[in-house]
Structures are given as C-alpha cells and as structure tokens.
Symmetry: C2
DNA sequence: CAAGAAGTGGACCGACCGGTCCAGTTCTAT
DNA sequence: ATAGAACTGGACCGGTCGGTCCACTTCTTG
C-alpha cells in the first residue's frame, strides 16, 4: 500500500487545488473533467500530483469532502426527534436561513452544489456522490417522516419523489434570487424569500379544506 | 456543401440506429457517448456513417428530433387563447394525461426523456436541447399569463420566478418518473403523474380560504 | 558532511476519441 | 456493356485522456 499524503500539501496550495478541481468537476462532471487541466492550471506537475493523490477518484473524493463539509455539518446540529408540531416549521425556517446566509457569505459553496449535482449521474463520480447524498437523504427522510407522524406534512407521496421536487424547487428559487439580486431592494428580497418559503408550505401541507 | 442523405438509409436500419444512439446518449451524455460504440453495435462502418451523417452532432440532432417529435407535437395542438376559466385546468389535465399515455405505450419515449435530461447540461448537446426546451418555455409562459388574466392562476409572484420554479418542478418530476420507471406498474405511473399534477395546482392557485 | 527520504519535471505509454481518406465494390441508368 | 454515382471496409490521423517511470533536485536527519 503506497501512501499518498495529500495532507502534507501546504494548506493554501491544497485549498487552491480543491477550488480549481471543484470548478472543473462542476463544469464537466467526473469523467469529462480533465486532470491535466486541473494540475496545469495549478502549475503542478503530474508526478507531484500522483505523489499526493492515488488517482483521479481520490482527488474527486477529497474535493467533495472538503467542499461539502460545512453543509453536512449543518444538519447534524438539529435533533429531529425533539421537534413538535409547533417547532417544526420554525426550525426548518431557521435552517434554511442559516444555509442561505452560509451560501451568501461563501460563494464557493455554490460551486460545491454544482459539482455535486453535475457529477451525480456520472459513472465514476456516482458512487461517491451517492454515498454523501445518502447521509443527507437519510436525514431529510427522517425529518419528513417525523413531520408526517406529527401530521404536519402530507403522507400521500413517495418520500424520494417529494424530496427531489423540494430540492429542485429550492435550487431554482436560489438561482432566481441570485440572478435578480441587483434588481431587488431589501424589501423585495424579504418578500420573495417569504414567498418561496410559503411555496414549500403549500407543497408539504396535508390535504384539507 | 456535401450532402449527407440520412433519409436514404433503409427505414428499419435508420430506426435501429436511432434506438442505439438514443440509448448511448441517454447513458453517457453527448460528449461521452461513443460514436465508435454506436456504429459498431449497429454493424456499420465509419465511412458508411459519415456518408449518411455530417458528424456526431448531426446524429444527435436527428436522434433527438426523431425521438421527441411526438412529444413536441402534443402541445402545439392546444389553442391557448381559446381557453376559459372552466376549460383551462381540464385542458392541462388532458395534455398531461395524453403525454402519460403516450409514454406508457411506447417505452422508447422514456429513452427520449433520459437522453434529453442526460444531455441537457452537456457541452455539445446543450445548444440543441436548449433549443427544444426554449420552444416549450415560450409556450408555458403564454399559458401562465393567460391563466393569470383569467384569475385561475395566482398573480402575486413575478412571472419569471413562477415559471422557473414550475419548469424545475416539472423537470424533476419527469426525472423521478423516468428514473423509477421500471419499479412502477402502469397504475403507479398514472398515480404519480396525477399527484404531480396536483402539485402544480397547489402552487398555481390564488390565495383563498 | 553524508545518506536517505521527500518531492518534482517531463518524457512516455496504451487506450480511446471524432473524423478523414481512398481504394475497391455494388448499384443504376443509358 | 459501360460509365458514373452510390456506397463501404478499414487503415490512418492528430489529439486528449489517466496513469507510469525515472532521473534529478531538495529537504531532513544523524
């Protein structure tokens, strides 16, 4: 077993590498991302790269972990079982707020998301994204099921179906807000984010009236 | 201008080619799809291929048109301006129903969807899928604005915001259905498409009660 | 200072890619 | 029968890819 001590890379060079590689993976997916482009952009020779990393997949995995860590840490701070009928929606609101703030303050998180979704269906990147998504999906599923037990969320749709749609909605809302950011005043931003949130409520609330 | 008379291919061989190529494109995206694999699977030599087609993009475009034509024809059969408060939702429902039935009856349409979504973000395939999607977006915008005039759709959100979300929802629903196609029986497929439809209703109906 | 470990530059490998080219075959129309 | 168009097999091209290899330099440790 040959060692590939990527941790011995100077911290700033490591960060620079992951920034470049996440961009490349985000733009092209796993297979089409070019290792040659990545290292040449960084000014690193191939032998150096293969000294620190086992192969392309290794780089991909480490990039993904590096770049998604803050997001993955976020949801672990919530104790789902403790949520009640009254606290569920407000808690979600708070998480969404924190996540939004996080993304707003560090644009490289957007890259993380792009990279993730771009590589999700790619052979080679699939197993790794799958693995990481699994964790998040498990959490989301628990949250939704808990909400369903409380009667706060509808129970008539497959979980995966619901989750996929909610995610797509969240992403498209984000994209719209970012795109129209400059045309909105502060009130407009508040309004639209409130409206977006209410769309989630509309979708998730059980049938009634 | 050299001619590439793909229409001169025997109909059955043409169909076989498009079936193989749509599978390849669906599985691998535009760039990663291998022309060599496609023609060798068909038993066609390269010179023959380049006799009938200009290049890989040409094959992609023709495959896409061949395979999506029935879907694209569908929405052109509706006269938006003629829709009234009473007929708007039923008409949409009917379109969705027809589309579902169509896909149910010909599994190669599933391949069309897979191919479309797989290549949507791929450089090379992007312009062509974009082109086809653009047509559909224009149509959807007209439909929504008409519905708002009638008071059937909410008017409290920016058009572009609403449309972006609706498109994202539609695409993610489609994606989910296509992905889980084999695990569903015909009833399950109808149910989920019905459920998806009701999600659109939830999002679009004006505030009340 | 010396010896070995850590790190690096760059030529090189085999595989695959889309696309070209041309000699040769088969078809069609006179 | 024959000229010319239509068609095809397969060698070949330049390019990119991930990955290997080895000689060389730099750093660390005794």
């Amino acid at each position: 077993m040959i060692e590939h001590p990527s941790h011995k890379l100077p911290t700033d060079k490591r960060a620079a590498l992951f920034q470049i590689s996440s961009g490349e993976f985000a733009a092209n997916g796993f297979k089409q991302a070019s290792l040659n482009r990545i290292i040449s952009e960084l000014g690193m020779s191939k032998s150096s790269f293969y000294h620190y990393f086992a192969n392309k997949q290794d780089l991909f995995r480490q990039t993904l972990e590096y770049v998604l860590k803050p997001v993955l840490d976020l949801h672990q701070s919530v104790d789902i079982k403790a949520l009640t009928t009254d606290t569920l929606w407000p808690s979600i609101m708070q998480i969404v707020g924190e996540a939004t703030r996080m993304v707003n303050s560090s644009p490289e998180m957007v890259m993380a998301g792009r990279m993730f979704y771009r590589c999700y269906d790619d052979p080679g990147g699939h197993e790794l994204t799958q693995e990481i998504l699994g964790e998040f999906t498990t959490w989301t599923t628990k949250l939704i099921q808990h909400g369903q037990v409380l009667g706060v969320f509808r129970s008539d749709l497959p979980d995966t179906f619901l989750i996929e749609i909610l995610m797509a909605m969240g992403m498209s809302m984000d994209r719209w807000i970012v795109k129209n950011w400059d045309e909105l005043d502060e009130q407009g931003r508040m309004d639209i984010s409130q409206a977006g949130f209410s769309l989630f409520v509309r979708l998730l609330e059980p049938d009634k009236c």
